[in-house]
Amino acid sequence: MGNLVLKGVCKNFGRLQVLDGIDLTIAQNHSVALLGPSGCGKTTLIRMIAGLEKPDCGEIEISPGGAAYAFQEPRLIPWKTVKENLTFFLEEPEIDPTFFDTFGLTEILDSYPHQLSGGLRQKVNIGRALLFKKPLLLMDEPFQNIDVKNRVSFIRSITEQRKKEGFTMILVTHNLREALLFSDTLFFFGPKPSRVIGEWTVAKPPQTAFRSFDWLFEEEKKVVARFPEFMI
């Protein structure tokens, strides 16, 4: 009920077996992270959830309402400014200016994508996905190219927004700390043909302790002890 359920989903590209029977259940309003080696099929999985690709076998059950998707590459419209890029896909083009401030977009609102650095482009990409306000948010390595300080503040803002609005979130990342900060559950994928090789339920600290990072380092050590290949 309202959950996102994948049952035995598999996918091949020609003779290349990518996903080989994925079973996952993601409860409504939960946040999960997918981790796994490059090319193991994380993007493919997320594209299938978004409905952009059809699975070769298995089933995907999604609650209605659609998904917002921050693609792995920014996919900005080259002939529109940052502001236009953010509003173009929205039904309601009015955006609260504090939103721009929160995500560090205010300065670049009138720039064109080709005038932006990689990290700035990625910020626009994340901002756009957040503005869609759908019941499901898919984010494919959204923090690549973004510096540590911004990353932390983004994670905070998104977590707050999630608490207010309540949406399910799936994050693909190679950064364990990012995953721990963001998610309730982590899923680990193996190499191609890939399956879920492990699951980790994050022990979140009480709200008051969240701002210190000690719990994060503790949690990280525990995960690395079980999944040593996700160390750095």
């Binding site: 659609g66 998707y69 693609f71 996919r75 419209i77 002939w79 896909f89 064109y112 080709h114």
Partner: protein, 257 residues
């Protein structure tokens, strides 16, 4: 935009000189004003013509016909091009007709055209229209194929209304193709309208050329042709300036950066 016209003029200067040089060398080599008159002869005729009111009437008549044909071709060609680009069904339905339009010699159906439109400005306009139409349609349809598939996925995902996607994604992506079809068309239309007037016109440069050709007034034929080319080159310069103006640079920038 003013300075850009000037700089364009200057850009063309060298090329114009080259043409003049090649022309003079060729006419010296042929040594017959029947084949290729000396530039001086052509210019003498040219300046003689400038004083005549009839020249300007003919020129404006030809110009109007060419432009009406172009505008008509754009008005029909753009939507049909989009239709063909978007819909496999329409593309299959209309493609053979397009090939037909493209490869059917005007002379074969000149009679039908004349019966339909009579003698006057309509037939030349129609001929220009029919000549440019397939070029424009092909270009637009080709352009739609090149629209970034990644952006279209975003459109699909966000259930963006078609109207908005059209105006915000398709149209701007296709601007370079529209520009290129205008550029090709603007050149071709002169040739076409003069030929059409030559075949079936009551006035215009083409009629004058036909008449002077009959009397083997080669310098005058070339003087009239010069007017056509001059208008053609001026238009090219104007278009160039327009298309490289800041207004359009934004779209073109897509390709330049």
């Amino acid at each position: 935009m003013k300075t850009s016209i000037c700089s364009n003029l200057f850009k063309y200067a060298l090329g114009l000189l080259l043409i003049a040089l090649v022309w003079e060398l060729a006419s010296l080599w042929f040594h017959s004003s029947l084949i290729l008159p000396r530039l001086s002869e052509v210019f003498a005729e040219f300046f003689g013509l400038i004083d005549e009111a009839s020249l300007w009437m003919n020129l404006s008549s030809t110009f109007l016909k060419a432009f009406s044909g172009l505008l008509l071709a754009l008005a029909i060609g753009l939507p049909v091009g989009f239709l063909i680009g978007f819909s496999a069904f329409f593309s299959q339905l209309l493609l053979p007709g397009l090939v037909l339009l493209k490869s059917m010699p005007i002379i074969s159906w000149l009679t039908s055209i004349l019966i339909l439109w009579g003698i006057g400005w309509e037939a030349p306009v129609f001929i220009v229209f029919v000549t440019l139409l397939p070029i424009i349609i092909y270009n637009i349809a080709q352009g739609i194929k090149t629209v970034d598939k990644q952006l279209l996925e975003v459109v699909k995902l966000t259930h963006l209304p078609f109207r908005k996607a059209f105006a915000g994604i398709y149209l701007p992506s296709i601007i370079p193709f529209i520009i290129s079809s205008i550029e090709i068309s603007v050149g071709t239309m002169w040739k076409t309208v003069v030929a059409a007037e030559f075949l079936a016109g009551e006035k215009g440069i083409g009629v004058q050329i036909a008449w002077n050709k009959y009397y083997v007034n080669t310098p005058t034929v070339f003087a009239y042709t010069f007017f056509v080319i001059l208008v053609g080159i001026s238009l090219e310069i104007l278009l160039d300036a327009f298309f490289s103006s800041p207004f359009l640079k934004r779209w073109r920038g897509l390709w330049a950066t």
